[in-house]
Amino acid sequence: MATVELRFSAQPEHVRTARLVAAAVARRAGVDEAVLDEVRLAVGEACSRAVGLHRSNGVTTPIRVVLTEEEKTFSIEVGDEVPGAGTAAATAAGVPVARAAAPAEDFDDADGEDEMGLAVIRGLVDDVEVTAGEDGGVLRMRWPVLPAEEDADLLS
């Protein structure tokens, strides 16, 4: 079961909220303080990408962010509901897929904004997995957590 699950409508202003929640939960889960900036950035990139995909494809359902604390890892899943989107990300090789490109008025400055976001994620996170299905794509990221100091809480 997810530790925290967040659903937000595909609006750019909510991406910041997702970053803050993810960083707070990651900190609680025991992710190293030095890595929290990377978690914040990576989840922001994943959510921005999902928002862009929903908007450019006219998908009105919310973006889903699942934060899961496990024994040795902390994982974040960002799910979109655009069929084939994950496939495009997974191959990232210009394979034609059934999704519209990002609208020009939003992204006229950088060609391949989607790829730049993914490049940042791959540069930051060692454990990244992009999957796709008919219902949409999921981007999974995992970080190690510091060993819990079990006695510390009891004694304090």
Binding site: E13, V15, R19, R40, G44, D109, A110, M116, A119, V120
Partner: protein
């Protein structure tokens, strides 16, 4: 935190430079405001820009896209776009994406303003 923007003109060794001081978070929501500012400056004839990022708390790929767009615009007028940044967590994003090779990055506004190609 929202994005804050302020601009001023500073005389440099190679002529006047427009310094854009950016503060707060540059992300998918706020980046369009920065884009508008850069477009407006170029449309008004400011082709030599210095973007001071010392007060930026957060930058993502959307923000990078806007900076790349700004660079394209000033280059179309044989201008320049220089960055000022000493923050390791921001510099890291430029390194990951290979953009340290694209943007001249300076340690102070003074240095950027007086830099000439």
């Amino acid at each position: 935190m929202d994005l804050s923007l302020s601009t001023r003109t500073v005389p440099g060794a190679g002529g006047d430079r427009t310094v854009v001081e950016v503060g707060g978070e540059i992300d998918v929501y706020t980046a369009p405001k920065l884009r508008e500012q850069l477009v407006e400056l170029v449309n008004d004839g400011s082709y030599h820009l210095v973007v001071d990022m010392e007060r930026v708390d957060f930058l993502d790929s959307t923000g990078l896209g806007v900076l790349v767009g700004g660079l394209k615009r000033v280059r179309a007028h044989e201008g320049s776009l220089r960055l000022v940044c000493n923050q390791e967590r921001i510099l890291k994003i430029f390194r990951i994406t290979g953009l340290t090779k694209v943007f001249p990055i300076h340690t102070s506004v003074d240095e950027a303003v007086n830099a000439v190609d």
